[in-house]
Symmetry: C2
């Protein structure tokens, strides 16, 4: 039997520890092809490269997989992998493991999740993985078997059209992780406070700064699961229509 074909990408760049760990985990499950950005792309959201060109080159990194380094964003990587690099349709697309959380509202800013969403738009099962640890020395091993098991289950039960998974992993040891919890996206936001500085020429400039404000204490929210030691899994859709508001909006815009 042919092994499943797994496309791996990320937004921290092809050499980031997070993706190298994910590649090692996936090599034990299927045939792996990596197409990932040649530089960090965090916070790029669903950006695509329209006004400039793209290129990619094959690297020869350790492991049994094929590695392609691409000049574009995570979304570009998925597009070019499907159109120009892969010779057959992948059975699943996995993105990450991101260095840092993509839970709750972070999903909309996340390059990791945008790559997964792009794969979903292409009709593929796709999962984004993120670890709640920004460090380049982060330990991805405690979540290894959970990540592998989630991927295996989705290979056996492909996701419905229009849905991808957002998986976030708490920064805990293997013994401390309590399990996997299916969740909704918590109602949370970043409270901005730009850090104002003055450059040597006397002109003001700003660093984006702020703090995370979780406004959602419900049991089924991803932030709650993570705080309680669980790996959170949110099914994410990209039909953004607020169906529940259509009728009322018809009344408001009844010209």
């Amino acid at each position: 039997m042919q092994k499943p074909l797994i496309l791996v990408t990320n937004d921290d760049g092809i050499t980031a520890p997070g993706i190298r760990n994910l590649v090692a985990f996936m090599n034990e499950i299927g045939d792996v092809v990596v197409v990932a950005p040649n530089s960090p792309q965090s916070g790029k959201g669903h950006a695509v490269t329209i006004d400039s060109t793209l290129s990619f080159e094959e690297l020869h990194l350790e492991g049994s997989q094929k590695d392609f380094s691409c000049s574009g964003t995570p979304v570009d990587c998925v597009k070019i992998a499907l159109d120009k690099i892969l010779t057959r349709k992948p059975d699943i697309v996995v993105s990450g493991i991101n260095h840092g959380s993509n839970s709750s509202i972070n999903v909309i800013y996340s390059g990791t999740m945008s790559a997964a969403v792009e794969a979903g738009v292409e009709g593929l099962s796709a999962i984004g993985f993120s670890l709640l640890d920004f460090s380049w020395e982060a330990d991805f091993l405690p979540a290894k078997h959970y990540i592998q098991n989630i991927v295996k289950r989705i290979l056996e039960n492909p996701l419905p059209k229009g849905i991808v998974l957002n998986v976030n992993i708490p920064k805990l040891s293997k013994d401390e992780i309590k399990g996997v919890k299916v969740c909704k996206q918590a109602d949370a936001k970043w409270e901005e406070s730009f850090d104002e500085r003055i450059n040597p020429h006397g002109k003001k400039y700003y660093w984006l700064s702020g703090y995370f404000n979780n406004m959602d204490a419900s049991d089924d929210a991803d932030e709650t699961a993570l705080a309680n030691g669980y790996i959170s899994v949110v099914p994410v859709k990209f039909d953004l229509t607020a169906y529940e508001y259509l009728k009322e909006l018809n009344g408001v815009l009844n010209f």
Copy 2:
């Protein structure tokens, strides 16, 4: 009575004809402050500037509004406007008028809509406007009264928390536009085909190319409304949870 405060932004850049038209339309409704990118930012999705700094400067352009040109993405513009430029909370945030469609799946790639979504995350009523005409000479006037009426109605009926509007306008004369239709996001996608070229040094490079594939002929889809001569209005939410799949996913991931 105090006039409503209207924050205007876009993704084509502060000097684009689309935003200058929107500013002129909004000047007839309220007090306008413009905070928009100093360069085109199309296709930037929900990108934010994390790894570099931001700056802005006041310009003195024609009209009664205040104009600030910002070095960042559309999302950065909304964030810095709310934190550093505006002295009171805006009554509404309008983004656009985009040169080109943001209907159906385009919403997820759109800087115009990301600015509106960011305003929604901040708890504000927000609307993204797009005209189905990429030309810099596009005629925005046929939609003037529709745009003004939609903004006035939303000022009177603020949007519920978590919802913003995606308004797309067909490229038609005033007489040809049939009216406004509340819609769902059509099920559509871009079929990629990268255009391969060879640079003077013999290395391959690619331009993103392809065609738009509308797979949704339903009466209530935005693409259908636009094709039939209507302005489409889709209420868009940023809680991406696929609630309808939670129960089944619980079964799939029942370890």
